[in-house]
Symmetry: C2
Subunit: 235 residues, 2 copies
């Protein structure tokens, strides 16, 4: 007789311990986009997320993504006509708002746009080290850099100053939301801008962002790279 209901066995003695992994499993679910839209992470995982950002874990994850990106970038033939581009998102990609979020429950608090905009206006966001290094390496390889952010046109000056102050320079364009982009989902706004870039003849080889809405949609890059961000979701 064929046994029914045979399943992969949990090792003896560890049954019931699955909750120990809940926050880790939840983070994987977010980073793979399995979770889909989420408003905030489980409050029981606040200490986990704090630990994630307070030690070397986040840096390590970011460095491995940058390594993946460079490995691919080095294989791209650069035509030399200035049309080979790499797209970077800004927040939690080139710049880090961890100093802000650390003071606001690492995203577990309801997002306060006024308060966050005040932080942005300070222009004090540090660079994410792995991205800063990658950015320089991509420039050396001959890529043109396109910065495509959900920040609004009114934040152009402070964003440029912030980027320059932490070591980013030589971008081809910094694209921000215009007034008629208000209310558009990020995935639509960013896809439209990428499509416009392609229509100009740019070849979008790589795209780096911490949100799936940076990477999905249409006019997508040859390869896209998801930077870690377990804190928040932008549709």
């Amino acid at each position: 007789m064929v046994p029914r209901g045979r399943t992969l066995s949990r090792p003896a003695g560890v049954g019931g311990a699955a909750d120990d992994y809940l926050c880790d499993s939840w983070r994987l679910s977010v980073e793979t986009n399995n979770a889909g839209p989420f408003r905030s992470f489980p409050t029981t995982c606040i200490p986990y997320v704090k630990k994630y950002f307070s030690g070397d874990w986040y840096f390590s994850d970011s460095e491995v993504v940058a390594g993946d990106s460079l490995y691919f970038a080095a294989s791209v033939p650069i035509e030399g006509d200035g049309k080979d581009i790499w797209i970077f998102d800004v927040d939690e990609t080139l710049l880090s708002n961890i100093p802000y979020y650390a003071a606001h429950g690492y995203g577990s608090e309801t997002f306060n746009e006024t308060s966050f905009d005040e932080w942005v206006e300070l222009g004090k966001a540090p660079a994410l080290p792995a991205s800063l290094k990658l950015y320089g390496q991509l420039l050396e390889l001959g890529f043109q850099m396109i910065l495509l952010t959900g920040r609004g046109e009114s934040q152009r000056n402070v964003t440029e100053k912030n980027l320059l102050s932490v070591g980013y320079s030589s971008w081809e364009r910094l694209i921000l939301r215009q007034s008629d982009d208000h209310g558009k989902k990020a995935v639509v706004y960013k896809s439209e801008r990428r499509a416009a870039l392609e229509a100009e003849g740019f070849r979008i080889h790589g795209n780096s962002g911490d949100q799936w809405s940076d990477l999905l949609g249409w006019a997508t890059s040859t390869r896209s790279f998801k930077l870690p961000n377990p804190m928040y979701y932008i549709p």
Copy 2:
């Protein structure tokens, strides 16, 4: 004067510890598809992967993916015309080959097709518990189940027997590679089959697989769900 080169600070005292996270960061890179094609994982990470599969970690990750899937599935309006489908991959999705891989270095050894096929012919692969539960819940919700596997037509009988023996039943179709699919990339073979299903009028709401080649390509599902698999990559 604006400080140059300011970056997000590593907390004092933890500098240089990034290697502690290397295997974890590498796994995230694989699961997000940042890594792209990889042949085998770093040999230094063999103990990490063994730990991943030997305790509750893998079960927890799988259960959270199943939870994400069910949450979405419950929101899908079922038309009642038998055309609302959910696609499942087989290996490392419905069935688990962990007993085989545990005896072969968890994927760190070069893949031996003959040896693996002998394992498949035994028809002894256990069910992945989270998938078995999800499968039943999706049937209850009214989805038709399509099983789409990279296994060949010659393995139909043993695959059916194996699936039935561990508790899966009532699938609408089990689709296996035919002779003219030989040499096709999985992402092409699976996209072609999904497109054919759409041409028949099926609505592909969900798609569950452990490989990105199960989920990407064309004729993609409304939502796709990446099951964990740090062991191997199928293009």
